[in-house]
Subunit: 249 residues, 2 copies
């Protein structure tokens, strides 16, 4: 990482840090071919949000934290980009919740799975977090999905009642909702299928959400009613309003 | 490229084709590390445009075509992503205009320059287009820029009166405008610095613009007055309006 990016006072520090984490992960074979393009799409939506946690996203994060705390069997689903961008933060959240994480990737190859498991196990040891890391030997299937992407652990994703799915594919998100689970989505695009399908959708950047969850979960907030469409409309209104504030004429 | 992507009736055919072209170019060493992320950002804005040429973008493309036809020394500036995504189309446009193209990349390394020159020269020979391809031995500098990104050909970019700059960096775009050139910008983000700096900005996807230019240039349209702010406002209004049409409540 260049000098500029290592300086937290640089206005683009966060954005450059995320890119750096992705580049490192790519070198380790943790990412799918489409990882960088997906990240770029996210960057564009974050730019439209003003690269900040908007109030409705913070409310959604509180609602998600409350559901994770209240869950019988919470779990965090991790894909390549999530491990790269916020692997450490996700392990810290799992440690706070005393729940497992499960690696569940769209383009599953033995090499990518190994790279992700090695990286996460290394992090968990280094941080002394003692988090159960699932994904290595899936013995269950998510109903309604086909191929390797359906694979999961019977005692993990299959058994959970509440699942945090950051940056999730729309099909898989829909399949999890169809199983009756509470699905907590992190997605920068309020119009994506995952965002629309979620029980609680946080329209915010992954690492900001992660840090907010780490701050909120220890406060053990109570579960209150959540209307996800209100949250999505609010995020959309924010984007539309701030774009509309740019006047050329 | 998978079977689906090779089928032009597939709804995501164009988008997958563009990704495939980028992957091929990456393998040939033509792209910068940030190329895929930049493409992803573009994909997000194209999604907001509805992946279509909106009327104001078509008008901008006509205005750009007219200026290229009327120019004394037109030129097309090419970077890695442009060569990857629409190298052939750019050579066809240059052949129609009987003008040179110049490779002008932000992260200039001898290896990337060679890969890009080899690819373009191969395409030009294959298509029998006889286009002059500059970039190999820059002997001039764009005033106001520092380092390798300032390098250009005295008889190319330095001497031109009208320059087509697809997917251009904001600094370089500004420097070209400061030189008094007419700068024709292709950029999917109507709020980007390049978009705002341009003399004529086409808020549209590169390969769609390229195909429109190939269709319009032979008709030799007359130069008419162009208010770029009207075009940008219209593109922004389109995005804001179509996003706002998504109602969750």
């Amino acid at each position: 990482m260049g000098k500029h990016a290592a300086d937290p006072s640089h206005p683009r520090y966060r954005s450059l840090l995320m890119r750096y984490r992705l580049e490192e992960a790519a070198e380790k074979g943790m990412l799918a071919g489409s990882a960088m393009i997906a990240h770029g799409r996210g960057e564009a939506f974050d730019y439209l949000l003003g690269e900040q946690t908007i109030p409705s996203a913070y409310e959604a994060t509180k609602a998600a934290a409350a559901r994770l705390v209240a869950a019988k069997n919470p779990i965090i689903s991790l894909n390549g980009n999530v491990v790269a961008l916020a692997g450490e933060e996700m392990l810290r959240i799992a440690a706070l919740l005393k729940c497992p994480v499960e690696i569940n990737i769209f383009y599953r190859t033995p090499e990518r799975m190994k790279a992700l498991l090695d990286h996460l196990n290394g992090l968990s040891d280094e941080l002394n977090l003692n988090v159960e890391i699932l994904g290595a030997s899936p013995d269950g299937k998510i109903p309604g999905l086909e191929g390797p992407r359906a694979k999961c652990h019977a005692a993990g994703i299959l058994a959970c009642d509440v699942i945090l799915v950051p940056l999730e594919d729309g099909d898989r998100c829909e399949a999890l909702v169809s199983m009756g689970k509470q699905v907590l989505v992190i997605d920068l695009n309020p119009l994506s299928r995952s965002a629309k399908m979620g029980s609680v959708t946080m329209v915010d950047e992954l690492s900001r959400v992660a840090n907010n969850l780490i701050e909120i979960i220890p406060k053990q907030p109570d579960v209150e009613e959540w209307n996800n469409n209100v949250g999505l409309q609010s995020a959309l209104d924010h984007i539309v309003k701030s774009m509309g504030n740019n006047i050329f004429l």
